[in-house]
């Protein structure tokens, strides 16, 4: 029987047509999350909020931005920043959010690594998450081109050059991407299309996938326990909230999210108003000039660690040119975290502090990424080049050793 007799204009009628109460239960009040979590679990919602800030501020920027090499710089730095009411605010919000979102992404990623939330059924969450990292990277790269400042132009020139594949000299591909021989108006307008329409669509799709793949194995918890969700949900619903190991998404999990969000927003808006140069590099306030290379070209901070792996090998070895080796490592670096679940040979899900060798691996990786980031910003001369070389080597070594480290921990525990 498909017909509904209750009136459209009644509460029961609307409920029958939209199944709102049922939807609310499934998505919110009976979507079970472990209780044993810390504030790091709130970062997913922090990311969703930051993404929303980017979309909303982006909508307002879109009203005044002109995607033309002759007009872009002034449309941003005169019209939006100085004429439009609150234009300066949503430009700053957009730039700072675009940078801060990566800080939260990295913390969110390493939380997942630490607690083992990428294996035994959670691989799809991890892979969709890494897909989000890649698409956000593309979104950030395309967005940075739009103000058409010196860094916009030169970063675009350097990175699109990489698609020639070093010794492969695939200049035809580079020209196809750019829509011309050099980064120019054609490049700007197509990256505008990507930034404003195509990549955000893809991101939204992958977010939906990320949430979908999360529901099935359920969110992880601090001790990486395997919880009997049906039993625990029973306890909760029957009134035994304190004994239950689970909490409902609404209102319990989200209430913690909002509290963490509150603190995050203070930090975020402090940066928006008072400390934004890290996200809005002064060099980009010089209009793009193809005939004048800036003294120092560097990407945004979140790309520095992989940028440094590009520069790390600075002399030819193993019969390959330095540039080619760096390019391969750089390309690898963008995606290597994807294979994490498959390199981890430990069959148990445990937090890193219960996996002694992995615990060390984890912190060495963090420190290595920090070193790569800082040296990615410094001029690659003298001693800096050597630090970059060894830090890149260590990065590769860490990945190569991961299967052995994890296997060793598991064996010591008797799990293998």
């Amino acid at each position: 029987m498909a017909l509904i007799n209750e009136s459209f204009f009644s509460a029961e009628g609307l409920e029958k047509r939209l199944a709102g109460k049922k939807f609310w239960k499934v998505m919110m009040t009976e979507y079970w999350i472990p209780k044993d979590i810390n504030f790091l679990w709130a970062l997913g919602v922090v990311l969703a909020t930051t993404f929303s800030i980017l979309i909303i501020s982006g909508i307002f920027l879109l009203m005044y931005y002109k995607p033309d090499t002759a007009l872009a710089f002034d449309s941003v730095n005169y019209t939006i920043m100085q004429e439009v009411k609150f234009g300066w605010l949503f430009r700053h919000m957009h730039g700072v959010a675009a940078s801060v979102v990566f800080l939260i992404i990295y913390i969110h990623m390493f939380t997942g690594i630490y607690y083992g939330s990428y294996k035994k059924g959670r691989e799809m969450i991890w892979i969709s998450g890494m897909l989000l990292f890649v698409t956000f990277s593309a979104e950030g790269f395309s967005g940075y081109m739009l103000p058409w400042g010196q860094m916009s132009y030169w970063a675009a020139a350097v990175i699109t050059n990489l698609f020639a594949g070093g010794s492969l000299e695939a200049w035809g591909l580079v020209e196809w991407i750019r829509g011309g021989f050099t980064v120019g108006d054609a490049t700007l307008t197509r990256f505008f299309m990507l930034h404003v329409f195509l990549i955000p669509l893809v991101i939204i799709g992958v977010i939906v996938l990320h949430f979908y793949t999360l529901r099935i194995p359920h969110v992880n918890n601090q001790d990486s326990d395997d919880i009997d969700y049906d039993a625990e949900a029973e306890k909760y619903l029957s009134g035994n909230k304190r004994e239950s190991k689970v909490i409902p998404f609404w209102p319990v999990f989200l209430s913690k999210d909002f509290a963490v969000l509150g603190i995050f927003l203070i930090f975020y808006f402090y940066l928006v108003f008072f400390n934004y140069n890290f996200a809005m590099d002064p060099v980009n306030f010089d209009p793009a000039n193809s005939m004048k290379t800036p003294a120092h070209i560097y990407p945004e901070w979140y790309f520095l660690w992989s940028y440094e792996t590009l520069r790390g090998p600075f002399f030819d070895m193993l019969g390959m040119k330095a540039g080619d080796i760096g390019l391969i490592i750089f390309a690898l670096a963008q995606v290597i975290f994807v294979v994490f679940p498959f390199l981890d040979k430990d069959p148990e899900v445990l937090p890193a502090h219960k996996r002694p060798k992995f615990f060390i691996w984890f912190w060495v990786m963090i420190i290595d990424l920090l070193v790569l980031s800082v040296y990615g910003k410094l001029p690659p001369t003298g001693a800096n080049a050597w630090v970059g070389f060894f830090a890149t080597g260590l990065f590769l070594l860490l990945w190569a050793s991961l299967p052995f480290i994890t296997k060793s921990d598991a064996k010591a525990r008797g799990a293998l």
Binding site: K35, N38, F39, L40, L71, D74, S75, N77, Y78, T79, M81, Q82, G87, W88, L89, H92, L103, I107, K241, R242, S244, I247, P251, V252, S255, K256, F258, A259, L261, G262, I263, L265, I266, F269, Y270, V272, F273, F274, N277, F278, P282, V283, N284, F285, D286, P287, A295, H296, W301, L304, I366, L370, S373, V374, K377, L378, P379
Partner: protein
Amino acid sequence: MRELKILGILVFFTGVLYWGVEPFAHSQMHKHVEPADFSFKDVDGLHGARGNAINGKELVTSNCTACHGLKVEGMPAPMDDASAAAAYGVTPPDLSTAGYLYDENYLAAFIKDPAKAALVAHKMVDGKTHPMPGYSWMQPQEIADIVAYLQSIAPKEMTNKEVFVDACQRCHGAKYGDFRFDGTKSSMAAKTPDANIKEYMGTVPPDLSQMIRSRGHEYLEEFINEPGKHLEGTAMPRVGLKKEAQEQVVSYLEEIGDSSKDKRAEYGPKFLGYLVIFALFAWLWKAKIWREVH
């Protein structure tokens, strides 16, 4: 407790990363320079001489007005901007405000040897000469008289924009001063046409509209006072601005380049105040809800 420990670790690593990538890296990329020196110690200045403005007027009228305008005395420049630029390479400034803008010792040194005082002697090679001849053949007292006269006719006050127009606009445009997207020509374009100034300087001086954001206060203060400190071998002359006048230039750059600065200062504390309240309420609500489940 554990959550505080986790937060502490996060803050520590984020802090280290921020420090390395921002203050530390930038200190490596930009070497430290001496702060601005408004005493112009190095110039061959007045050497304490006191000038007679009445004598000075005569000297200026007979020696300088062939090229320079003196609007305040009703004497416009002999050539319009474009013709002057074509003839000399750059439009000579009107001298009505020179006494307000420039340091007196610098002025004395400049009149005697323009290229030397302006620190552009290194550019006068291969037969190239400064468009303004030097007056070192004059008596030191005469130089002092000229400076005294320029000071006597100078205005008591100038707006930031007026300082910029007189001190900088001959070479630098500042289009955001009156920018329009509808194609209306800006009155803030450089007074010397691009072709002439490129010939004269070797390059077209950049528009200054966003210099306050791309360089910042500290850099601009050091740079305007002595361009060679930050840009070795630059064609930009040291113009000899007094401290107050230079500050006015930077203020003007801020007016046209970062006019929303005041609003940021106004709204920032308001937003943060609201968010503190928001966070407080969020935590209270969270505590109430979680009390039932712990």
